[in-house]
């Protein structure tokens, strides 16, 4: 049997992953619900004063979104490993990193994009000033793909484990500290009336770097995990 072209393989993979997500669309809502719950808990703990909430809004939303994305990371390769299709991917004649990039892209589209979509709602709950909202959305748009890409490497390293929950968090945490610092930092700078372009540009630079390197690293990690 002659293998098809690489682009055909990528399209097939994208369509398959989208179809699978659509069939389990209830699960896809879990991260959203989680983020809303986390954000909703803060006013109960800190009191409902608008000034207090305004001060912590950007940081809280960022942490909530990162935790929600972290929660969904475990499912990135889980079902593929269980039904054996992950091994098929590794054995396929097409470049593994490219196929994994497709998988990560779908994962970002289905878990992180909805989180960005509800970010205005979360911002409203915490009285984030309207002027900061575009910066928050821009920072999230740059930070969530970074998280998906960095997270994918760690998931690939822990994929063979039966229970990887806590370990995955431990692996991802130190790697996303800079993302959190610059993402939330841009929002805080905007809120304080300071220039916020520099942290956003840094995030963009890392995103470009991660877009190139992370699929390669994920492929290498997956090969280690599945030998």
């Amino acid at each position: 049997m002659k293998p098809g072209t690489t682009s055909a393989a990528c399209v097939a993979l994208l369509r398959r992953d989208l179809a699978l997500t659509w069939r389990r669309r209830g699960d896809a809502l879990n991260p959203l619900l989680f983020a809303v719950i986390v954000v909703a808990l803060f006013p109960f703990a800190l009191g409902p004063e608008a000034q207090v909430l305004e001060r912590i809004a950007a940081g809280t939303i960022f942490v909530a979104v990162l935790l929600a994305a972290l929660l969904s990371l475990d499912s990135l390769f889980r079902s593929d490993l269980d039904d054996g299709s992950l091994e098929q991917l590794v054995l396929s004649p097409h470049p593994l990193s490219l196929l994994l990039a497709c998988k990560i892209a779908i994962h970002w589209l289905t878990t992180a994009l909805p989180l960005i979509a509800i970010a205005p709602l979360l911002a409203m709950l915490l009285h984030l000033p309207d002027s900061v909202l575009p910066v928050l959305l821009a920072a999230l748009a740059l930070a969530t793909p970074l998280l998906s890409l960095i997270g994918a490497i760690c998931v690939a390293l822990t994929v063979a484990l039966r229970r990887s929950g806590m370990l995955l968090t431990l692996l991802v945490l130190p790697l996303i500290v800079p993302v959190l610092i610059f993402g939330a930092g841009a929002c805080n700078a905007a809120q304080a009336g300071l220039p916020y372009a520099a942290p956003l540009l840094w995030l963009g630079a890392w995103l470009v770097l991660a877009l190139v390197l992370a699929p390669l690293a994920t492929a290498a990690a997956l090969k280690i995990s599945l030998t």
Partner: protein, 257 residues
């Protein structure tokens, strides 16, 4: 073949390394202990009290060498991880994984002594100062490497996965450090430095360097001891390990036989 290269290849063989390390270990421990004792004596007794910080500055002699070691050990681990992944040398895997707990121990000491130093100097146990924060992230990286290594059942696969994580950490560490520095300037945090701007005097410096030397030697001693133990477990089916195990007088053996 060049005798040095030949020796290096021989060192890669586990039984040879086991015997070689066993011969050097007592010496390394002795050197570390003696130089550590001299360094501590110099630091606690000989060095004069600092004109600003008084006697509390004496914590420098454990804090700073351990902070240096936490980075040195990470670099050593990453170098071995690189060799292990590229050339698939079993000994490098063992060395990389053996250095992780030692590095974590040094990082932990750095954090605790930094906190103990911060209390009298800054009036607080913890500040989110750039260096302490980076050190905390470094501890998480070490714990991640150790955790991943112990979570995967197959030892060699675990070592390769953890080695890969260690290499990712190398890319991450400078990014973390510079982002934390940037974050600190944004938040106008404490910029007080424990070391001060003034030049350190000769009588204060030599105990510090001696301690740094002692911790380096100690690291290699602990590394060799851990690598020896790990090699025994890794090669438990091989003849040379059986010979060592049978030669070992055990309480169980005397009770049964």
């Amino acid at each position: 073949m060049n005798p040095l290269v030949l020796w290096f290849h021989k060192l890669g063989s586990p039984p040879y390394f086991y015997r070689f390390a066993g011969r050097f270990l007592p010496w390394l421990y002795a050197i570390a202990l003696v130089s550590g004792a001299i360094g501590l004596y110099g630091g606690l007794v000989v060095a004069p009290a600092d004109y600003q910080q008084g006697d509390s500055f004496r914590m420098i002699y454990v804090h700073v060498p351990c902070a240096w070691m936490s980075l040195f050990v990470y670099a050593f681990m990453a170098a071995n991880a690189f060799v292990a992944l590229v050339w698939r040398i079993k000994l490098s895997e063992t060395l990389a994984m053996a250095s992780a707990p030692v590095g974590a121990a040094f990082t932990f000491i750095t954090l605790v002594t930094g906190s103990l130093w911060g209390k009298p100097m800054w009036g607080t146990w913890w500040t989110w100062d750039a260096r302490l924060t980076s050190e905390l992230v470094l501890l998480f990286l070490y714990l991640g490497v150790i955790g991943l290594y112990h979570a995967i059942e197959d030892v060699r696969q675990a070592a390769r996965a953890a080695a890969f994580l260690a290499l990712i950490g190398v890319v991450n560490l400078p990014i973390v450090h510079y982002s934390v520095v940037w974050w600190n300037t944004l938040h106008q945090g404490q910029t007080v430095s424990l070391m001060g701007q003034s030049k350190i005097s000769q009588s204060m410096l030599w105990p510090l360097l001696t301690m740094a030397f002692a911790t380096h030697v100690y690291f290699f001693a602990s590394l060799l001891a851990r690598a020896r133990a790990a090699l025994l477990a890794l090669e438990s089916g091989k003849d040379w390990v059986r010979a060592i195990a049978l030669a070992q007088p055990t309480r169980e053996a005397s009770a049964h036989g």
